[in-house]
Amino acid sequence: MVPETYYLALSAVLFTLGVVGVVVRRNPLVIFMSIELALNAANLALVAFGRRHGSADGQALVFFVMAVAAAEVAVGLAIIVAIFRLRQRLSVDDLSLMRW
């Protein structure tokens, strides 16, 4: 039986990598994938906490996170495709229209 702390440590590492990916990369698709990475790290922590407390609530929560992530990916990719159609380029550095 691996202690839950190890899972939490792995989850922290993966979450950090996801956040760094969001900051470092320029391609919105890769940024999006990094967000998915961070979401999965949070899911892993939820399942580990659930096992620590011996309840299935963490797993139910992860189920909802998966559903929301599916909706989020569909809408986000549609937005990215729409932006690409408009500008013919795909770099977040170009998208400064709403910057103050």
Binding site: V19, E36, A60, V75
Partner: protein
């Protein structure tokens, strides 16, 4: 024995996450992410969450990543992020910031070890326990999820129209 398996799977997860970060080609990144999602599904199995492991493979690795790969194939001509980076000096800052975040998370997760562990109840059953929870305690969020998915579907159709 379980610890060896955990270390191996964790190594696969971390290396594939690094691959997503470091490879220039987004298709390679997407394939690395598939590996990462699969290793997390394996970790779910080790945690006794069989239903989530199956859902992870079907929903994430199956549906979401196919969508990603499809979008990459449609959009990227394969030469993204090749030009000089105009904000390189700022992006270098991401590494120390990431280290700070990691230390912070480690402090939060490891500092709680002093607290007394909660009484370990009997481990919750697999699919049956989750199904029971979803249709009793979490019935309202469960129904809301269907509305959310419908709204997302309609929104995507609207966004993807030719004259959007």
């Amino acid at each position: 024995m379980a610890l060896v398996a955990f270390v191996l799977i964790a190594l696969v997860a971390v290396v594939s996450a690094l691959g997503l970060l470091l490879r220039k080609n987004p298709i390679h990144g997407a394939l690395f992410l598939v590996v990462n999602l699969g290793s997390i599904a394996a970790l779910y199995l080790m945690l006794g969450a069989e239903f989530l492991a199956a859902a992870q493979v079907i929903v994430y690795a199956g549906a979401i990543m196919v969508l990603f790969v499809f979008a990459i194939m449609v959009l990227i001509p394969g030469k993204e992020e090749t030009g000089p980076d105009p904000r390189r000096r700022w992006r270098v800052l991401a590494a120390p910031l990431g280290v700070v975040l990691l230390v912070e998370l480690a402090m939060v997760t490891l500092a709680r070890r002093a607290a007394p562990a909660p009484p370990r109840a009997a481990p919750a059953g697999g699919v049956e326990a989750i199904g029971r929870l979803l249709f009793t305690d979490y019935l309202f969020p469960f129904e809301l999820t269907s509305v959310l998915l419908l709204a997302a579907m309609v929104g995507v159709l609207l966004l993807a129209r030719r004259r959007a």
